[in-house]
């Protein structure tokens, strides 16, 4: 057993436990996006940052990939951690504002605006679908391709993979395309949009009570032609 303290509370966990699991065991909430039980930890979204140690040597690590170690002092909601999390959420909102999951997370952390150039990506490269396909569906039909800013997820050569059984697992776990607010493209609406209305919020003004947390809502903003 390994003893460590999380937010001042001592806890003993078995070897191999991650900090995220230890914190969840004690009931400390840590937001996650690319983490899912049953899939290997990946540490892509960095939302689960926690602070290790204190003083000038304190550092931030992703709790979903960090194994518990003897004598660690972990803080899950220090000012630095909260600041880092808010920044990560702003960056996520900047790349993928239409995701309901990201919007909800932003709202829960009192992030209602982001300061960066607004983009509308379909993917945040969290790798959930890749791990789902490989580890749960045993298919390994999709994977990462290229690198740097050209990195993307898909099948080799963008053609239908022989390994793919069309199980839909990748779509099910995707935080970016699941429950996507499709205001800007109402024709392609499949999910119900940000207000969980059907048809999606075609005319924004009518839905003052919709569950969009952005102020102003960048997802629903129609791009000026």
């Amino acid at each position: 057993m390994i003893s460590l303290t999380i937010n001042g509370l001592p806890v003993s966990v078995e070897e191999g436990t991650t900090l995220l699991e230890a914190a969840q065991f004690l009931g400390f909430p840590i937001p996650t996006l690319c983490h899912m039980e049953g899939l290997s930890p990946y540490g892509a979204c960095r939302l689960c940052v926690v602070q290790l140690g204190d003083g000038p040597k304190a550092r931030l690590v992703s709790s979903c990939t960090y194994p518990a170690q003897e004598g660690l002092k972990v803080r899950t909601a220090s000012a630095r951690v909260v600041r880092a999390r808010k920044m990560i959420l702003e960056l996520l909102l900047a790349s993928c504002p239409q995701s309901k999951i990201i919007q909800d997370l932003a709202s829960a952390h009192q992030v209602s605006q982001q300061r960066f150039r607004q983009e509308h990506e379909d993917c945040i490269l969290c790798g959930l679908c890749v791990r789902m396909c490989e580890e749960q569906m045993m298919a390994k039909a999709i994977g990462f391709r290229n690198r740097g800013e050209r990195r993307s997820i898909g099948t080799p050569f963008d053609i239908k993979s022989e390994q793919c059984r069309l199980c839909g697992g990748c779509i099910y776990v995707c935080p970016a395309c699941q429950l996507r607010c499709t205001y800007t493209e109402p024709d392609k609406a499949i999910c119900g949009g940000c207000a969980n209305l059907s048809p999606p919020c075609v005319e924004k003004e009518q839905f003052d009570d919709m569950m969009c947390y952005m102020n102003p809502c960048v997802a629903c903003e129609i791009e000026k032609d």
Binding site: E134, R145, N146, T155, Q163
Partner: protein, 282 residues
């Protein structure tokens, strides 16, 4: 692309365990790019998922999924090269070849690419064509580089290699030739002298190729032994006036027929030598 060829490449790397990158490199060097069918074969043969192989092939910039030209021109765009005008060089390549970086000429002769750093920053701007490094490239030199490449860079380099000439030497006293055409070393007549060391003496043949240190001897000479050289015709010692700049052993001097003298170190294993083609150091 032939499936058997690819399969034999894969099989050759089987014992290396995770040899995916080596396999892909070899396939690429054979076909100058990675054909999709080859990637599929690699995945099947090594039991990997095609997406893994494809991921590796697209991750590294040195792998290309599009056919590349016979000659690959890489222009360094690293910081050091950039500030010394690499972008002008790249532009000149683009202008001369008529393709943008990352593209291949329609005749499949040249591929142009820009790279981030070749690790030769002191020589910048650097361009590499078919593994030959060109340093301090100016846009005015680009045309010549392309012409040389078309003619064959290996030949051009051999012609420019100053080490590749044969010294025709003779005794400094009797002026008779020391060359021995009957016993070639390195494909050219050797230099024959009489060597004396540690109470033995016998013939010693040196390569006449300047820069080659091949030696044949009647008796084996241990390293670091000082050898006295004698002319086989007049039996005079071929004693030089100076000492070796590397190990300060006495030098052996011979006259170069073309004019000048060559001095070599008399210590076995030492590579100290002085070539003075004007003869002023005599």
């Amino acid at each position: 692309m032939k499936a058997e060829e690819v399969l034999s490449i894969i099989d050759r790397h089987q014992d290396q365990g995770d040899g995916l990158i080596s396999v892909l490199e070899e396939i690429q060097s054979k076909y100058s790019y990675l054909p999709p069918e080859a990637l599929k074969l690699v995945a099947e043969r090594t039991g990997r998922s095609p997406v893994d192989v494809y991921g590796v092939a697209t991750f590294y910039k040195s792998f290309s999924l599009k056919p590349r030209g016979k000659h690959l021109c890489s222009v360094c765009m690293g910081t050091a090269c950039h500030v010394r005008g690499a972008s002008a060089v790249a532009q000149e390549f683009t202008r001369q070849l008529g393709v943008k970086p990352g593209e291949t000429t329609p005749d499949r002769e040249f591929s142009l690419e820009t790279v981030n750093c070749l690790g030769a920053c002191a020589l910048g701007p650097v361009a590499v064509v078919d593994g030959h490094y060109f340093s301090n490239v100016r846009s005015s030199r680009v045309k010549q580089i392309i012409t040389d490449t078309r003619a064959g860079l290996d030949d051009a380099e051999r012609r420019a290699d100053l080490r590749d000439f044969i010294l025709n030497v003779s005794c400094s006293r009797c002026n008779r030739s020391l060359m021995d055409p009957d016993h070639p070393i390195d494909g050219s007549p050797s230099i024959r002298v009489t060597a004396a060391f540690e109470r033995t003496h016998g013939w010693l043949r040196l390569s006449a190729l300047y820069g080659s240190f091949t030696v044949e001897s009647e008796y084996p000479i241990r390293t670091d032994v000082l050898v006295d050289f004698f002319c086989p015709h007049c039996h005079t010692e071929l004693q030089g006036a100076s000492h070796c700049p590397l190990c300060s052993a006495p030098m052996v001097s011979m006259i170069v027929r073309a004019g000048g003298i060559v001095q070599i170190c008399s210590r076995r294993g030492c590579r100290g030598h002085i070539l003075d083609l004007n003869g002023s150091g005599f």
